[in-house]
Structures are given as C-alpha cells and as structure tokens.
C-alpha cells in the first residue's frame, strides 16, 4: 500500500495569516486525506485533517444537484441581469482566483469587497491616513528585542506567531530567543496569550484609543491630563515605563489585533497605534503590523489594490473603480438593501454578519463557492463545491507581512477550483454581455 502514501515537504498551511510554509504532510491518496501534518499547530492540524473529499454535489441550483455548466450558466445570468451585484469574500482562496473575481467585477460593473472589511479594514483606512512603519516577519525573528501585542490573542488565533516568528524563535541578533526579548501584552482581559508576556497591561474596555493617545503624548513629551489613569485603568507610571522601554529598545514591534479594529473607534484605534510606531522612529527603529486573519486575506488586499488602486470596498458601477468604506463595503451594501445579487467566494457572511445583512442575503439571488457546507451555501441560489486551496489546489498566497508563497497541493480533488469556476463564469458573462450589447449597437447603426 506504500505507493498510495505520498509525502509533501515544505507545504503551506493557509488557515491563518501566519501562512507557515514548513508543513511536512503525509497523504493517503486512497482515502483522499492528509493523515499527518508535521510542524502544524492545533489549528493547522485540524485544517489539514478535516479537508478530505466529502460526498457533496459539485453544483446545486436551489438545492437541486446540477452539472457545473448549468450552474455556471445560471450564475452568469444572475450577474449580468443585476444592477448592483456584489462580489465578496476572497480571503480563503488563491490570488489566481481573486484575479478572476476582479475581472468579473470589471465586466459586470459590480462592487468588490473582501473579508478585510470586517477584519483589518479599519487598519487599512488608518494606513491611508497615517502610513505605516512595518516589516516582514523575519525581521522580528532576527532583530526584535521588544514585542508588544495589543488587542489580539495570537495564542489562540495565530498559534505559531510566537514560536516561528516573534517570541521564542531565535534570530541573528536574538541568539537566545525569548530571553533576549521583552514581551508586552495589552488587552481588556487575560487570554491564552497573556502568559507569554513579561508585562501584561489590562486596559479598560473601550479605552485603547485613550491609552495609545496618552503614550503618544508621553513619547512626544506633551501635556497629559491625570484623568487618563481613571479612564484607561492603567497607572501613569506603567505608561511612562513602557514609553521608556519603547524609546530605548533597538528594534521594537507592535502587533495588533481586532481588539482595536472591531471596537468603538475602529480605524482611529488602529491609526493611533500606527502613529505611535511612527513617532517612536525619532528615537529608535520601530515597526507595527496588524495580525491578519484568514490565510490569503493579505493576498486579497494586494490583488484588489494593484487592480483597482484601492484595497477593499470598491465599486465599478461607472466602469471604473471607486472606493468608499461604509458605502461599498459588504455589511453596508447588504444591510441597507443595496445589493440585488451576490457572488460570494470562500466566505460565510450568512453566519457572521449582522442580522440585517443576513436578512437581505435571504432576499437576493446568491452564488456561493466553498469547499464546505456553510450557512451561505445553504441559502444560495447557485452553490458550487470547490476544491480547497493549499490542499487540492496550487497557486499563490500572501502572508500577513505581504510575503507571497507558492502552494504545494497534497492530493487531487474531483471538484473544480475557485479559479476554474470563476473563469467559466467570467467567460460566460462576457458572452452574455456581448449578446446584450449587440442589439443596442444594431439599433444605433440603424
């Protein structure tokens, strides 16, 4: 039986934004499953173990099993007839598939948004306001002697951030790993990430901005009202000590999570943190990095940006890209009832979005692509079961620090890839649009 066991070295896990590319996979080709994922964390092990070939129809229309071609036809028809079609998701698929989704958006004059808008979208807005001093993760490994985690719980959401990139790992100027670093954690509650920290600062809920702003004032030597202690729950002495540590370290890093982006203040919370890192460069080298969620959400940001000039929340109604979060982002286009059709790729808004948005998804024709059964797939008019990226499908993904990595798929899937389905939809959309345009042109000629 040995010939039906395959090993894949240096494979990449696409579960979270760490995108660790040192997986050694053992694959049972008969059973279509990965039996062992060496080096994977608890999340990665589940990711590899659970993505087997399930017995699901490759395509359904209104829950009825159909051929992929028929589903493509119906999907194209929905998109071509819509006046405000939205395309959403895209963070759990390859850049190659993302590019096809953008091409469709261009053809149908739709609205394109990714899961970034409900993840670090606010950090993206903040970035557009203040810029960002940042780095690839290897710099943290090699150089960072001060690492601050703010408003996130990587211990549970990004388990190998600590061991592979940022805390215990040894690097060029950090020969002893954690011993050579000082770790600070700032959060509203203790989490599984807290024990790793040399210093835990518990900030009152909703006071992250005030604390960051106070640190900025201290870094710049500016006036600060003593009420800040009461407001943030953090002693002024603690703030001053932290500021001193930040100014005197050699290479400081601020990692931040959705404790900043999802709470009141949103992009201004992220902006305050980015500005703090920028300010500190007057004294030493300091960088910041949002800890991104899904495997290729950073790739989605990159592809949407290079294609349209904007990272997410892009509308093409006028035949060219426009950007406006709050207007063209998916929570808004759904809960306001703007969208009249939705193409959702590798994401499950029907399970995670605010109630009002989910209710609108029930009212409009939805096309869903996902390797797994989801709430969104359940309500979709057209649902495709696709092969899983990184497990069955090759392509490119970007790590949270913008480093692109090529996938090494483990075994073949009977299902088409997202890219294949999207390419088929794109081609059919183009044909339908040409047909639609022709009678008009003919009229004009006459």
């Amino acid at each position: 039986m040995a010939e039906n066991i395959r090993t894949v070295e240096h494979a990449t896990c696409t579960f979270c934004g760490c995108v660790c590319d040192d997986m050694n996979l053992t694959v049972d080709l008969d059973k279509h499953c990965i039996t062992k994922a060496e080096n994977a964390c608890v999340l990665g092990k589940a990711w590899f173990a659970e993505h087997t070939i399930e017995n699901r129809p490759a395509a359904t229309i209104d829950g009825r099993e159909v051929g992929v071609d028929e589903a493509v036809e119906e999907a194209a028809r929905i998109l071509v007839n819509a006046r405000f079609p939205i395309i959403y998701g895209l963070s759990d698929t390859t850049c190659e598939a993302q590019r096809e989704a953008l091409a469709i958006g261009d053809l149908i004059h739709g609205t394109i948004d990714t899961t970034t808008s409900v993840c670090h979208g606010p950090s993206g807005i903040a970035f557009q306001g203040v810029g960002e001093s940042t780095m690839t993760l290897g710099e943290v490994k090699n150089r960072a002697d001060l690492v601050i985690f703010w408003g996130g719980n990587p211990g549970e959401a990004h388990p190998r951030l600590f061991s592979r990139y940022a805390v215990t790992t040894k690097g060029m100027y950090i020969p002893n790993g954690k011993k050579d670093r000082y770790i600070v954690s700032v959060d509203v509650r203790r989490t599984q990430s807290t024990p790793v920290a040399n210093l835990f600062i518990q900030v009152k809920p909703g006071a992250d901005f005030e604390l960051l702003w106070a640190l900025r004032a201290l870094v710049r030597g500016r006036r600060l009202d003593p009420s800040v202690e009461e407001r943030t729950g953090v002693k002024l002495d603690t703030m001053k000590q932290l500021v001193e540590r930040m100014k005197t370290c050699r290479y400081g890093v601020l990692f931040f999570g959705m404790g900043l982006t999802m709470t009141r203040g949103r992009h201004f919370n992220s902006g305050a943190l980015l500005a703090l890192a920028t300010d500190l460069n007057e004294f030493t080298h300091f960088v910041a990095k949002p800890v991104r969620g899904h495997g290729n959400v950073t790739g989605a940001d990159n592809v949407v940006s290079w294609t349209t000039g904007y990272p997410f929340g892009v509308n093409l109604s006028r035949g060219y890209p426009r950007f406006n979060p709050g207007e063209f982002t998916t929570v808004d286009t759904l809960s306001r009832g703007d969208a009249d059709a939705a193409l959702i790729i590798a994401s499950d808004p029907a399970a995670n979005f605010p109630k009002a948005a989910i209710e609108h998804l029930h009212r409009i024709p939805v096309i869903a692509l996902d390797p797994k059964a989801t709430e969104t797939g359940k309500l979709a008019r057209v649902a495709f079961c696709t092969a899983t990226y990184g497990i069955n499908v090759g392509g490119t993904v970007y790590r949270m620090d913008d480093v692109p990595i090529t996938l090494r798929p483990a075994f073949e899937s009977p299902y088409p890839s997202d890219q294949e389905v999207l390419t088929a939809i794109k081609n059919r959309v183009r044909e339908l649009l040409n047909k639609k345009a022709k009678p008009k042109e003919a009229r004009k000629a006459a």
């Binding site: 999340l43 549970e156 959401a157 999802m262 979060p325 808004d332 948005a357 989910i358 059964a373 709430e375």
Partner: protein, 114 residues
C-alpha cells in the same frame, strides 16, 4: 432581572479547529453558542456552568450556554463569546463609514433563559 454587561466576541482555538470540520457541524455550533462569564457574576445571578442565558441588544437576541471564568481572567461585567451565528444576532449593522460593524465591546442585557 436582566443585567447590563459588556460582550467581547473573538476567536478561540476550539472555534478554529471546529471551523475546519464544518460550520454546520455540532461542535462548531456548540463552541459558538457558549458565552464565558465572570464566575462571581454567575454566582450572584444564580447561574452555573451550562445554564442557558439570554443575551439581548437593541438589534436582536440569542440564547446561549454560560461558562464561568475566574475574575482575574475575565473582569466582572464582561462576557466573551466566539464569533458565530449567535453573536451575529446581536450585532448592529451601522459601520459609521468604515465597513466594520461594532463586533466587540458592546453592551448586552443578560438574563437567565427560562
């Protein structure tokens, strides 16, 4: 008698691993239907692990099971839940020109579900 508390939604390992298994599977639905609560608050409210509580905001409500956490881990008046369909029921949809609904740190009314 409902009490006002602050709900934090977030990710957990268990949510992550059960997510890979499938979001319509029992384990995932279980993980996302459990709210962590300060143990002292629970005692005061006469709640024990596994009891059903109703969480309500101006947007909607949901019934989930509660689970106690030490006061050092979770301050009094704070709740934690893994993202999922139950937390969605409580979220408002106004993104204030950002695209992001407030998904963490929002006030909820908490009471024992009958």
């Amino acid at each position: 008698m409902a009490e006002t508390m602050l709900l934090v939604a977030g990710r957990t390992s268990k949510q992550g691993t059960s997510l890979s298994a499938g979001k319509l599977k029992e384990e995932y639905l279980g993980v996302t239907s459990t709210v962590e609560m300060n143990a002292d608050d629970m005692t005061r409210m006469g709640l024990k692990d596994g009891d059903a509580v109703r969480l309500r905001t101006s947007v909607g409500e949901t019934v989930v099971q509660c689970k106690g956490r030490k006061a050092t881990d979770l301050p009094a008046g704070m709740l934690f839940i893994a993202y999922g369909p139950p937390s969605s029921q409580l979220m408002g949809s106004d993104t204030a020109g950002s695209g992001m609904p407030l998904s963490k740190n929002f006030t909820v009314q908490v009471e024992r579900a009958a």
